[in-house]
Point group: C2
Chain length 359, copies 2
């Protein structure tokens, strides 16, 4: 089986995973997640007015960065981090010193499985990330690495080792109580999105291996000062998928579910997404035909290659894509600085910190 981590991995990843939360409000939603998140470190990225105080419930171990912190830490390169859009979350990926990231929105709550039990979403993401993916051939009985599952007859033996998993894309339910239609919606499966296939990646319940794919998890330029919003996760998903395909890495989707109680207004959202809905009709065919050169063997090299192709082929849609392509380069430069050897020891001095409750 392909090794995707050290030979002895703590299956909770307690010291190897950060939870990144972008927010503009008090983080009361964490109360519900306390049993599952309390042993992890949180990185909170405060969007919007930095003078506003964000309350974090007692007892969580966290660091909080606002816009002033981002500007101070990145200097002119802070231009690549979006403002007034949850795309700002990717700053948290950059300052994390852990191998794994789980990111969740502050309007996502604990869902229940059909038996009524609370779903520990983080635990399932970790399982997904620590077991291989099957991007090269479809296993009709879903995730063969799941407990009690296996490969089906006819699955080539040479492919049963699978590929290292870079991304775990979790789903959502949005009905609080379990009635019949919701049971229908709850699909008890995890699967690999096959090589060569794009998907609409949602950023609100997402786990990934930073070592394997981190530099491609850029959520683009969205929100304030940009002609588009709320396409941050889609953009990241297209980029991530073509790079995973090129590097032989796996992307899983399915379990775990969270319960999404949408905080945003659908009419305001449509205004923000409007251009994205039109533009993606050209962007998706572009990503479907992207070919990365064989020599591109690191995520950074792949991403800079992608930048060139975005600049060349998407700028014809709108000047915005020239700006976005340049931000892709700035992002990689900033990533390189914050994740250079030795950066593990740097204290970025967040505006606010909290410590774990003593037990």
């Amino acid at each position: 089986m392909a090794s995707v981590g050290p030979s002895v991995v703590d299956p909770t990843l307690r010291d190897e995973l950060d939870i990144v939360i972008p927010t503009i409000r008090n983080l009361d939603f964490l109360e519900m997640w306390r049993p599952f998140f309390e042993n992890y470190h949180l990185i909170i990225v405060q969007d919007g007015d930095p003078s506003k105080t964000i309350n974090v419930p007692e007892g969580f171990d966290y660091e909080l960065y606002n816009r002033n912190d981002i500007n101070r830490i990145l200097g002119p390169k802070a231009s690549c981090i979006s403002f007034k859009d949850s795309a700002c979350r990717c700053f948290g990926y950059m300052v994390s010193k852990k191998k794994y990231i789980y990111t969740i929105d502050d309007d996502c709550f604990v869902a229940k499985d059909p038996s009524g039990k609370d779903i520990n979403a983080l635990e399932q993401h970790i399982k997904n990330l620590l077991t291989p993916s099957t991007p090269f051939f479809f296993n009709t009985l879903y995730d063969p690495y799941r407990e009690g599952a296996d490969f089906v007859r006819g699955y080539p033996f040479s492919m049963r080792e699978g590929a290292p998993t870079a991304v775990s894309h979790g789903l959502w339910l949005n009905i609080p109580d379990y009635d019949a239609p919701t049971q229908l919606v709850y699909v008890d499966a995890v699967m690999t999105i096959p090589k060569g296939t794009l998907f609409p990646m949602c950023g609100m319940n997402l786990g990934f291996n930073k070592d394997l794919i981190g530099p491609a998890m850029y959520f683009g330029l969205m929100g304030d000062g940009q002609p588009i919003g709320r396409y941050d996760d889609m953009w990241a998903g297209w980029c991530v998928k073509v790079i995973c395909d090129h590097l032989g890495l796996g992307v899983k989707t399915g379990l775990p579910y969270i319960w999404h109680s949408k905080a945003s207004n659908p009419f305001v959202n449509l205004k923000k997404e409007y251009k994205g809905i039109f533009w993606q009709e050209e962007i998706i065919p572009f990503f479907q035909q992207v070919v990365l050169p064989k020599e591109a063997l690191t995520v950074e090299k792949c991403y800079l290659e992608l930048y060139k192709q975005v600049k060349e082929k998407l700028s014809t849609i709108d000047p915005y894509f020239t700006k976005l392509s340049e931000a892709m380069v700035t992002w990689i430069e900033a990533w390189g600085e914050l994740n250079a050897p030795g950066s593990q020891a740097v204290d970025y001095k967040p505006s606010k910190v909290g410590t774990r409750a003593a037990k």
Copy 2:
């Protein structure tokens, strides 16, 4: 929405679908299927000794063909139909005069859903076949055409029409009672296998649109006189998938489940499958790189193109593939004869017929 049939389709497809069953034994298993199959026409392909009498329960509308019938109807071209292997089922596809085929093995029984209700597998296959597929982009919330389901945010609008569905691949459970582990195994989803991805197609619970993909549903040369057995459905699946991908047709997998009470001996099976397990390590990479010429716009043309590539590239594995490639041509010729314009009126004079119970 892409039209995959006449503008007004009877949603039961009662007069447009045949059920094809390959067998060597009395068809007592049909008793359990009576409520779901009794209004359909069955085509039974008797494998092995033609002098043996196969009992079919009273009240089913069927025609039964044995080896003598196959030899009489196809003449020298009968060489393309396997003997002593369930691959012989594809003869039934050839003589059917309907647009849709459902094929099921005689060791497959009615499964129950997690609520304990009998699953009407045929009804679900029909739903799968009459709604489009999504081979060009992955819908993370599974089949968007299912009642109550939809496309997710970020799914391109231009692709929401989908593609006509050529194949519905059903799954199986093999534990008769529903305890916790089985609940886990029952995944309440149908999904499209994306373009460019191969899968291990199982032939025991399979629906397809004969008009769209019939000539590619050849189950190869297996069993008696061949160095291989039980790879018939895999072979058909690889061929079908590359042709569906080329022609822009969809292949779905997932629901419905049947309960599989394996009649065959696993040790005997391994002996039959042995070569297939080794050979597929070369065959699958071959199918993964097959490119069909743009001019090949019909299934027959695609299949004859595939024959050329099989002959050229797989014959180096074993002389068997030369023989198989020639059988592919024979199959297409025989298909053409039996499915020529006007063939609707031909009575192939099966050995045995049964009529529906009067009500």
